[in-house]
């Protein structure tokens, strides 16, 4: 029974990641990259970052020791 539960949990999480990845790839082309916040706007915003860009950002945060320092 625990094996079944673990398998189902893995399936659910992998499905979630896959669905997000697909949505992010579709969103890369269609979502705006300029966001208005009141009178100002922010340029080059990824409203739904792709998995690749999340991985790059994660690697940068680890290499620069920002993430380990923040989790301390």
């Amino acid at each position: 029974m625990p094996a079944t539960r673990v398998r189902r949990a893995v399936i659910a999480l992998v499905t979630l990641v896959a669905v997000y990845g697909i949505a992010a790839e579709i969103g890369r082309e269609r979502l705006p990259n300029r966001v208005w916040l009141g009178a100002h706007y922010v340029e080059n915003v990824q409203l739904l970052p792709t998995l690749r860009s999340l991985a790059e950002e994660g690697a940068f945060l680890i290499e620069s020791a920002i993430l380990p320092a923040a989790s301390r």
Binding site: T4, A12, L13, L16, V35, L37, G38, L47
Partner: protein, 277 residues
Amino acid sequence: MKRLDPQRPLLWLASLAALAGIYTLVASRAARPDVLPGAQDIAETFTALLGSGQPQPRTGSTPCGPPWTLQRTSRDPDPAGVSLQASLAISTARVLFGLLVGLPLGTLIGLLLAWNRRTDDYLHPIYVLLRSVPPLALITYIMLWLGHSEAHRLIPIVYAVATTAVIPTYHGVRDVAAKYVMAARSLGARGRLMLTKVLLPAASPAVLGGLRYSLAIAWMTAVGAEMLMAENGMGNLLVGGGMWASRLQTRSDPAVILVGIVALPRWVGRWTPWPGP
């Protein structure tokens, strides 16, 4: 119905009075009204905030705090006109909205997870993943997606209430005595009938216990969100009193006390017939 020991409310009141007494004593001994204002100062500011909103600057023998708190610049927002009751009403409205939307949502998710083992196996890990995200961390994303609006104050509250309400509902339904379920099944109850006539009534004490807990979480999240990104509400009043103005001009102390008082329903909830979470 749970019987209330008549001495307990008196003991609670006595403990609150003792706390107030100790605070007054410490404040008078410390003689630093910029850090620990006296009870009379707090009462005066409370009255002033109930009126126009802006207490008058104090002069005379009041010792000053650090110099950087005494100067207001022209860029500082002027909190004049902000009253305690208006801020409380705004925060309460946000909390009520969060409860109104988040509670049914959380209860439904809890029911869904508890109702079916397979659904629970698939969705529970995702729920745990989402639940771990602090509500206030969503503010940035909501602002990017929906702009600077009321949404980034309301959505974190809805999210906090919903994720909180899931657990009591889940455990309430899962812990329904097997004999009730078996008896209902043997009498032919299935699906909707089982849900409405057996599971929900049996789980309702746990769901209502979760409501009490959700109320406290909603209140904390609302004040936190307002402290970060709001132009009104109790959280904004707290930040305004502490940061934008001199403590000798605008004080947040009554607001801090009121935030605590409003959270009392959770304490009062001890008198309700349903158990706490």
